[in-house]
Structures are given as C-alpha cells and as structure tokens.
C-alpha cells in the first residue's frame, strides 16, 4: 500500500513499548493559559446549563475523543537498545499509543505511514480532508517545504527552556525560520563519503586510508585519487559514485560543487554557481566523466545503483551516513566531501516533527501536547539512539553505543545546509538534477550548466518565496 493507517483505540492494541513508568514527567501544558481556558469553559458550560437550558453555543466540547492524524514516511531506523525496531514508523506508532493512553482526555490517534516518494500526496494532497496531517514526522529537507504553506505552526510555545537546552543547536537551528521554530528535531543522520579500503590499497592509495577518523582531502588529492582508481580498477568497477537519474542526487552533487571553494548560495539564498568557483567545480565533475571517475552514463543511474555497486565492491567511494556505515564494518574509511576548505564538507539529514493547523484549535492544541509528551518523555527520546539523537541527554546516555557517534559529532562543524534555506526545496531539487544530467551527458558546458542551474533554481526559489506564507 502506498500508505497504511492504523487507528489506535484506547486499550485495544497491546502497546509495542513498555508502559509509561512513574518517572515519566507529566505532559507539559501551556502554563495556566489553557487551564484557565478549560476552567472558564467548564464554568461557562455549567452556568449555561443551569441558567440557559437548551443553549448550546458555548464552546464546551464534552468527552468526545479528539481525532489526531500523525503521518510518517516509511523509513529504516535502528535503535541501539532495541533490536526489534527497524522502522521509524514503529517508534512513532509507539509514541501515539503512549500518548493516547496517558493523555488527560480521550484522544483517537491514527498513524498514517506513506512512502518516501509520496510526501506531497500524503501532506499537500490531504489538506482540507479528514486525512490532513496534524503532526508530520519527516526529513527536514522534505518537510521544510511545508513551512511556507502557512499551515505549519511555530512551536515555540511547546518548547520549554529545559527542552530547548537539551537539543543540539545545529539541529535546532535547522528548524528555525525567521527566528521561530517550525520543526522539532528528533534525530539526524550525517552524510560523509566512505571509501573501500581494499580497493584503495589495491590502487596504491594506501596512504589515504585513515583509521578511526573522518578525514579530508584537498581537491588535488581528490583528483589524484580518482585518477589512480580509474586507472587501476578492473573493468566493471568505478572510482566514485555519481547519479543523476532522479532528484535524489542533489545532496552529494551540490556538496561536491563546493570542491573549488564555491559558496553555492549567495547572501540572499540564491544559487551562485556562475561564479568562477562554481564553474570550476562543474568542470571538475564533467572532466571526471571523461577520466573514468564515475560509472558510465551516470546520468541514468540512481542512488540505489551506486549503493549496489559499492556493496558489491564495484565502487570505491560512496556516500554513507552514521547509521548506514555499520553494514560495511571495517572495510570502509570515512572522508568529508572536498572543499571549500581543508576540513571538507558534510551534510546532515535532520528528522523531526511539524504541527499543522487544519483549522481546529482543539486538535492543534492536542497535536502540540503530543509533541510535549514526546519531548518530555525521555523514553521516547531514547528511541532516537541509533542515528544521532537531537537530545543531548540521550546522546550522553547512548553515545557510546551509537556507531562512530563521537566521530560524527566532532564532524558536525563541517556540516553545511545544502538547502540554502530555500522555501521550496523540492522544486529546486527537481530542476537541479536535470542540469547535472545534461552536464554529465556533455550536453552542456560547465558555464552553460552553471547559468542554467542559477536561472532555473533561482526561479524556483523566487517562486517559493512568492508563495511563501508563515503561520502566525
């Protein structure tokens, strides 16, 4: 199914997780404001009942359960202390059940799981229907697009100082737009490049193999390594990943474009690839095609093709993240993307929550209470331990168990925001990969490609800004 839903009814489904212990802190409320409102509403309702029998215009909602829709894309996820978890939607399901069980009033939570390539169908496609998400969990570079729809509410009122202090700044800041937090980070996966040590050594590149660190190479070193690999690898094996068969290639390609020192984005958040550094980087990539650095016709490949090649030992360099490196064991070494400085670059996929305002103030408040419930219950925060937890406390508790956690936390300073703060990341991705596709095919020169990307991507950005509206 493209999406699956599981409606949770109080007491009907055996919780997938242990019941909440008494140490779980209570669900934070919006101070006295909401209590005062509830008390006032109750008073008015009682007064109305006594004095105005038959009047039903008072905003008293009774005991009917509030229906909450939580949507989550199907995403692999490991938890260091719970081998039964392999998908993040299982964790979200558990949160929903716990919330439904522990919340102060009846609530009916439906968790809807959708596929990674169906974000827009699951979110925008369901606006103004009973399937519209009240809470969305997803990767920032996908869900950031929805902030500008005006439906995602700022979450500053959810975040108590203790919560905010517990979240890493770099992940917190990813969700901040114009000074207000629209996304709550839950975990992150940091992307760096991994190289096959054996292939390197076979190619006479043993000197570049570094143990226990995320290294960085200069652009010249990169060129030398790739040329050496191209020259020495047997037929059917290739030096480095490259794919532009779909928009999924943008993360690593746009990061590679920093290799010659390009800032990629100017101060206004627009593409700036036509600058000499950008063109140089494009040329570096295009020349790599001719020098055999990438699988032939990489413009037709997908990330899974490169993943398979790397897994089969037919690709020497491939992008991994802190969660996926475990599958390769000690056969790979880690290195940052080239440029723009000596430390190189890394990217990060932060994942977290958004809350949508679908026009029902009551549901909106319950959705925010759900986030409060998750972020004040350390048990649920613990389930981020597998990737890089957004919670410092969880990192402290489980950092030692998370593979290469220290390496990646230490490398956090080299992470850059490859989205450039774009208001409509998805549209930019959709036009970006086509320019790279043509570059790889040799249809365009680096200059032409830079101009094309600047024009098309900036048009998408401008259009995004034009449509942009933030929830008040």
């Amino acid at each position: 199914m493209s999406s699956e839903s599981r409606r949770i009814h109080r007491g009907m489904i055996e919780p997938a997780f242990p019941p909440t212990q008494s140490v779980v802190p209570p669900i934070p409320r919006r101070g006295m404001t909401r209590r005062a409102f509830c008390a006032g509403a109750a008073f008015l309702a009682a007064a109305g009942t006594l004095s105005l029998a038959g009047c039903n215009s008072l905003p008293f909602t009774g005991a009917a359960p509030v229906r909450l829709v939580i949507k989550v894309p199907r995403t692999g996820h490991d938890v260091v202390f719970d081998d039964s978890i392999s998908q993040v939607e299982t964790v979200i399901q558990g949160m929903a059940e716990g919330f439904q069980r522990d919340y102060e009033r009846p609530v009916d939570v439906e968790v809807v799981v959708f596929e990674q390539n169906q974000y827009d169908e699951a979110v925008k496609g369901s606006f103004d229907t009973d399937k519209a998400p009240d809470v969305l969990y997803g990767d920032y570079f996908n869900i950031s697009t929805y902030i500008r729809t005006g439906r995602v509410v700022p979450l500053d009122d959810v975040v108590a100082p203790a919560i905010r202090d517990d979240l890493f700044d770099d992940l917190w800041n990813m969700g901040v737009v114009e000074g207000r937090a629209y996304m709550m980070p839950y975990l992150a996966r940091q992307n760096v490049l991994a190289y096959n040590k054996e292939m390197f050594r076979n190619a006479g590149l043993g000197e570049f193999v570094a143990e226990g660190k995320i290294t960085a190479w200069s652009l010249d070193e990169w060129t030398r390594i790739l040329d050496a690999l191209a020259a020495s690898l047997p037929e059917g094996s290739f030096p480095m990943m490259m794919y532009a068969g779909s928009s999924q290639g943008d993360t690593h390609i746009v990061t590679l474009l920093r290799s010659a020192g390009s800032s990629i984005y100017d101060d206004t958040g627009h593409f700036n690839l036509s600058a000499p550094e950008g063109i140089a980087a494009l040329r570096w990539i295009q020349e790599g095609v001719g020098r055999g650095w990438f699988p032939p016709h990489a413009e037709n490949l997908e990330i899974e093709d490169c993943s398979s090649l790397f897994r089969q030992g037919q690709l020497a360099i491939y992008m991994v993240n802190n969660a996926s490196i475990t599958r390769y064991g000690d056969t790979v070494g880690l290195v940052n993307f080239p440029g723009p400085d000596a430390d190189g670059s890394a990217t990060a996929f932060a994942s977290g929550f958004q809350v949508f305002d679908n026009g029902d103030a009551e549901k909106l408040q319950v959705a925010k209470d759900f986030l409060s419930y998750v972020y004040t219950d350390e048990r649920w925060l613990d389930y981020a331990a597998g990737a890089i937890p957004a919670s410092k406390r969880v990192s402290d508790r489980y950092g030692a168990d998370i593979p290469s956690y220290d390496l990646f936390r230490a490398n956090a300073d080299n992470v850059w925001d490859f989205t450039g703060g774009s208001p409509d990341t998805q549209t930019v991705r959709d036009v970006f990969y086509t320019g790279i596709h043509d570059l790889l095919m040799g249809k365009t020169t680096p200059e032409e490609c830079a101009a094309l990307l600047d024009a098309q991507c900036n048009a998408a950005i401008d259009e995004g800004w034009a449509k942009s509206q933030l929830h008040e």
Binding site: V113, E115, G245, N300, D305, L309, Q314
Partner: protein, 754 residues
C-alpha cells in the same frame, strides 16, 4: 363454517403465493448472482488476458533489447552493460536490464555484477521455460532496488559477448510503473482487480506500495477477516499455487462482505483476483426485486379483483338461483295453501246453492265459509309479512310500551281458546322495569304466534306455562327480556325442530285444529326477532311438549315516557288485528286497572278496554242508536256489503263513489250529521288521502272532529302512517274484519259521535 372454510382457502392460497414468491425471488437471486458471477468471470478472463498481453509485450520488448545488442555489435560485457544502461534509460517500462551468463553471473544495466551464488534467478529458467515473470523480493537475490518490482526474464539463444556466453536476459520494472497499466476497475469502480503471487504478495493492487518493507500480503488480509463456507487461508494458498480458478466469499476486518474470484495468469505463479463487494450483488438484484414485487403485486391485485368479481358473480348467480328455487317453492306452497281454502269456499258455495232453502245447512255452510275466508286472510297477511321481512322492508318502530300490558294482552287473546280446551295456563313473571322501548306490535305478534301454536298443539287438559323474566343492565339503560312458553303438546322431532323456523313447516302429526295455521308464523317470528337483534329458540321432545324462548335486549324508559294517549290505542288495535282477532281474556287485576285508565282517556276509542267492552254482546245491544256514516267506496259491491252490514247494525249509511263526492257530501251535510267516515284509500277522481285532507280543511265545526277510518287493502306501516298523516283517525285493513269494524263504530256511537 363456510366463512372459516373460505378463510382457510384464502390463507392457503396466500401461503402458496408467498412461498412461490420466495422461491421465485430465491431463484431470481441465484440467477442474478449467477449472471453477475458470469460477468465477474468474463471480466476476470478479459483482465487476465490483458495482463498476459502485457507480460507478452514485456517479453517481446526484452527480446528487442537483445536483438539490438547484436545490432550494436557490442564486443565486451562492459560495452553490453553500457548499451543496456541506455536501453533502460530510454525505456518507459524497464528500470534495469540484466544479462545472465551461462554460469549464472548477472550483469546489470547499472554495471552491478552478481555472481551465481548471489542470486537465484538462473534457477527460474532451469525448467526449460522460455520466459518468466515474478514479483521481486530479495530472497532470489538483492538487486539495485528496495522498491516493489516485477522481474521479467526471457531465454536467449546462446549469445557470445566478449568470450562469454549469455543465456538469458532479465528486466526489472518498478511495480508502481507497470501496475497502473494492470489495475482494472469494474462495476462502476466497486470491483477491483488485483494480482498476487503464490506467497500472497501483490503484483497488482489498488494501492500499491513502493517499498518492499511496506507491502501488504493478501493472506494476511484474509487472516484478519473471515472466510465463509469453511474455506481456510491454506485452501486458498493451495489453490493459487495449483493455478486453480475458484470463488470465495469473505468478510474483511472492516466488516465489508466481498466476493473474490480467482483465475491463474498463464506462465506465472500469479493469481488474478477480482474483488467485488457483496453489496454490488444486492444493488444489481434490487431493481429485479422491485420489479418483481411490483409485478407480483400487480398480478395479485388483478387476480384478486378478478376473483372478487367472479366470486360476486357466482354469489349473485347462486343467490339468484336460490331465490328462483325459493320463489318456485314459495309459489308452489302458496298455490297449495291458497287453493286449499279457495277449494273449500268454492265447495261451500256449491253446497249453499244446492241447499239454499235449508236454513240449518246454510248456517253451517256460512259458518264454515267464514272460517275459510278468515284462514285465507291470515294466510295473505302472513305471506305479506314474510315477503316484507325477507326483503328487509319491515321498519320496526321504537316506541315505549309496557311489558306487562303486552304480556297480558297476548295471554288474554288466547285465554278463550285455552278455556275452551281445558288447558291450564300458568303465567309467572319477573319484571323489574316494565317500560321498554321497541316494537310492541311485532313483539306481541311473535309471542302470539308462539302462544297460539302452544294452544293449538296442546291436547285438552294439557298445560301451558309462560315465564317472563326481565333483567336490567347495571347501567339501567337496557334490559334483557326473556319470555319462555312451554307446553305439554305433541312436541317435535329433533329433525323437525331444526327446521321449525323455515317457511311452510308444520309437523304433519297434529290434531284437527292444527290445520288452521299457515306454517309461516314461526318463520315470521324468527325473522322478526332477528331483525330486533334478539333470538328465538326451541327445545322440544316428541310427546313431551315444546318450549320456545324469546330473548331480546331493549332500551328501558321511564314509566310511560314518550307514550302519547293517541299512540296506545293505535298500537293495541293493530296488535289485535295481527293476532288474528283473538280476544276476550281476563286480565290480572293490576294490569286491568292500568288499562282501564287508558280506556277512559278521552279520544281513545279502540283501546283494548274499549274492544273488550263492545265485544260483549250485552254491550253492543245497549249501545245501538242511529248514527250517520259516510262510506266513500268506488267499488259498488264493497259499498253494498258495507252498507248492508252497517245498516243491519243500526247505522245510517250515505255512499260516495269517490273522494270528491265524499267531500262534497260532507260539506253539504249539516254540522255533526256524519259521526264517522269510512274512507277507501284508492279511488278515482280523488283518492281517500286527499279527500281526508280536504275534509279536515273545511271551515266547519265538525271538520276536525269527524272520525275518519281508512279502509284499504294496503296494510303496510307506511300506508297506515300515510293515512294518519292525511288526517284520518284510524285504520281498517281490507278485507274488513267486520267485528273490528263494528267495535270501532260502536265506540263512535258510544262516544256520542262527533
């Protein structure tokens, strides 16, 4: 019993119709379901053919890719992979293409190389098949995707590339790409097609997943719901694996009832499933039910109307036939009954001609002639009563009357005959509330019939007992009057007793006096009691006597309320006539006192007391005095007879030939000249009613007081009422009862005329 029989027949017919309708609807439902299943099968066949066509198309395209490899004359495996890369990139159907080496090594269009030990796709060609299609899962070897995909494979003729031999070409298609081509909706979108493999994973689904981790399993879905008819998931799994076509009924976990039709897809281990909600069957069947019910309803209505019409015609026909038979029988009886006294009259007439000079014989003949005439008269009266009762044209009156007076009057009329035959008569009564409202005359007629029969059939020295009992309801508004008359007569057989209330029935075992009856009295009594809402029953035993019981419920009235002085004599005189002129009985002291008061009331001649007074021979002699009587009669013979009779009785007679002449004669006479007028009702020039009105309208002192007696052969109540309404004072029915007429005129004479 007849009614119950008809109800039983109609009920049985209704049951048969309902059963027939149910059977018909069941058959219709089965037929519709069968047709729908045929449609499902046809759609399934069509869809399976579409899927098989799509698969064949894939195989053909894959073959074309292989052909182009030869055209491009690739020299190395790498070149072949590059070529496959371009093929996949340009294909709308394939996301990846693979070459399989003879040793099982798989080379993909994305340059991935899987050794024979890393996959099992080569095993799919080992059975010699030319092509295959399967749902991708990583159990056969992990390819470059985690998306739900289809894997197609074709066998290649041994193809040499770069010194290696390739035996097969495979292709991979994202399921979401090809599934949209295979999903077929039917039944207005309610029927959904899907395809599953033997393991239950969907190849085609209405809402396909894109990732292996998210795919649903058909068997899991079945497990979550319920399968009807004892079919298990294992049965279905086995059938699909065996490539069977079959149908199941099941209910999903959400409670939706479904019909699933399975059909194998040739060349695969797949099963095509057409899923149709049971509701679709109901929806398709509903119009048939509506039409059938409508049609059956219309048919039942038409048949019912036809049966009703036929029944009505049959009933009318039967009734007409019965009436014809009854008429014939009646006429036959009448002919016999009327001819009998006529025969006597004719015979007596003959004897009288022969013995006209023999005064003694003549007296006897005249006496017997009078009896025959009286019998004939009573017979005619009874026949008229019967006819009117059977035609429902008897209007019962509802006037206050005294039960005690009624009983006394009836008894009194039979006291003489009983005394003549030495019959002991016992009367007992319990009457709490004597004044009731009803038709006193008709009730008297009934009791008189019973009592006179008792007298007739009771031998000399016998006994007749009459018990009158009245029970007043608690409300005091009604009373149940029960009168039982028992005799020690000859009694009746059981068989006769069952028909005693039929017309013209008389037990042919009687004494000589029994011949006097017409045989209609009990029938008339029965019909009268029925019309009054009461009953009349008989208990009898041959040789022991009979007991007739009359029960009727009548409203009570306060003593004498609503009884005007003018009504009482009219009613009683009628009673006397209806009882065939029997009278002269003694009355209980109390009742006599009450009656005497009634007689003494002014302007009430003809009351029972008066009748008794003039019927006394001494009374008649004493009252004789010249009185002028105007007789208006167009029939000369009748006028002569009346004149002769009245003249012999000392009255002075003036005859008018029509009403107009009567008016003229009266108006020309001095005031008080005529003491009474005997007015024939039907006369030429001016009838009696109009003449009476004219006389009453005259401006003279005696116009309002002269006694006018209607003389007419029309004896119905409406005739009597019409006469009274036209201003006449009393009613004498023709043929005239001379005794009654003389009694009434004697009363006029005694009253001092007008």
């Amino acid at each position: 019993m007849e009614r119950r029989k008809y109800i039983a027949i109609v009920s049985a017919a209704a049951v048969v119709i309902v059963v027939a309708v149910c059977v018909y609807l069941a058959q219709l439902s089965a037929t519709v379901a069968g047709n729908l299943m045929t449609s499902v099968d046809e759609i399934s066949r069509h869809d399976v053919e579409t899927i098989e066509g799509t698969l064949n198309n894939c195989y053909a395209r894959l073959g074309s890719v292989a052909d182009r490899l030869e055209v491009y004359d690739v020299q190395t495996v790498h070149e072949a992979q590059e070529q496959l890369n371009l093929e996949a990139a340009s294909s709308a159907m394939f996301n990846a293409v693979y070459l399989m080496e003879a040793d099982g090594t798989l080379y993909s269009s994305s340059y991935v190389r899987l050794g024979a030990d890393e996959h099992a796709y080569d095993e799919l060609m080992e059975d010699g098949r030319e092509h295959f299609a399967m749902l991708y899962d990583d159990e056969n070897g992990r390819l470059e995707t985690t998306k739900e995909s289809l894997i197609f494979g074709i066998r290649l003729p041994d193809t040499e590339i770069g010194g290696r031999t390739f035996v097969a070409m495979l292709a991979r298609s994202d399921l979401s790409t090809i599934s949209s081509q295979l999903v077929i909706e039917s039944f207005d979108g309610q029927g959904v097609s899907s395809v599953v493999n033997a393991r239950g994973y969907y190849i085609v689904s209405a809402s396909p997943a894109t990732d292996l981790a998210g795919r649903d399993n058909f068997y899991d879905t079945l497990e979550a719901g319920r399968i009807d008819d004892g079919v298990t998931v294992e049965d279905i799994r086995r059938n699909i694996a065996a490539g069977e076509s079959f149908v199941i009924n099941c209910t999903t976990s959400a409670g939706e009832d479904l019909v699933m039709s399975f059909a194998p897809v040739a060349g695969t281990e797949w099963s095509f499933i057409m899923t149709v909600p049971t509701e679709v069957f109901s929806q398709r069947f509903a119009p048939f039910i509506a039409m059938t019910v409508g049609m059956l309803g219309a048919m039942v209505a038409v048949i019912s109307i036809m049966l009703a019409v036929i029944y009505r015609f049959m009933r009318q026909s039967i009734q007409a036939r019965a009436e014809a038979v009854a008429r014939t029988e009646f006429l036959s009886n009448m002919s016999h009954e009327i001819r009998t006294p006529l025969n006597g009259i004719i015979g007596l007439n003959h004897l009288m001609e022969r013995h006209v000079d023999d005064a003694t014989a003549m007296r006897d003949y005249v006496n017997r002639l009078g009896k025959a005439a009286q019998y004939l008269l009573s017979l005619v009266n009874d026949i008229l009563d019967m006819s009117k009762l059977q035609a429902g044209k008897v209007d019962l009156t509802s006037e206050p009357f005294d039960v005690n007076a009624l009983v006394d009057n009836v008894c009194e009329m039979q006291r003489g005959p009983m005394a003549d035959r030495g019959i002991r008569f016992e009367l007992s009564r319990t009457v709490e509330h004597p004044w009731l409202r009803g038709d006193e005359v008709r009730l008297s007629q009934v009791l008189m019939n019973i009592l006179s029969n008792a007298v007739k059939f009771t031998p000399e020295g016998g006994r007749i007992s009459m018990k009158v009992h009245e029970a007043v309801y608690a409300s005091g508004n009604e009373a149940v009057l029960t009168v039982s008359i028992a005799d020690t007569g000859c009694g009746m057989t059981k068989e006769f007793a069952e028909h005693v209330f039929d017309a013209f029935t008389q037990e042919r075992n009687r004494n000589s006096d029994s011949q006097k009856g017409t045989g209609l009295g009990m029938s008339i009594s029965y019909l009268l009691m029925t019309q009054m809402g009461g009953s009349i029953t008989v208990e009898s035993e041959p040789g022991c006597g009979s007991c007739f019981t009359v029960i009727v419920t009548l409203p009570t009235v306060a003593n004498g309320d609503g009884l005007t002085p003018a009504q009482a004599p009219s009613l009683i005189s009628s009673s006397a006539e209806g009882a065939e002129g029997v009278g002269g009985v003694e009355r209980a002291e109390k009742v006599e006192a009450e009656t005497a008061e009634t007689v003494e009331a002014p302007g009430a001649p003809g009351a029972p007391g008066a009748v008794r007074a003039v019927s006394s021979p001494s009374g008649v002699e004493a009252a004789r005095a010249p009185v002028e009587i105007l007789v208006a009669e167009d029939n000369e013979l009748n006028a002569d007879i009346i004149s002769s009779i009245l003249t012999e009785e000392g009255f002075s007679i003036t005859v008018a030939e029509n009403g107009e002449e009567a008016v003229r004669l009266f108006s020309e006479s001095p005031a008080g000249h005529f003491a009474a007028i005997l007015m024939d009702a039907q006369m030429p020039v001016m009838d009696g009613y109009e003449a009476s009105r004219a006389i009453r309208d005259l401006k003279r002192a005696d116009a309002k007081t002269v006694r006018i007696f209607a003389c007419t052969a029309s004896t119905f109540a409406e005739d009597r009422n019409r006469a009274l309404a036209s201003g006449m004072d009393d009613f004498l029915s023709k043929p005239l009862n001379v005794t009654v007429m003389l009694q009434k005129l004697e009363a006029v004479r005694k009253g001092g005329a007008s």
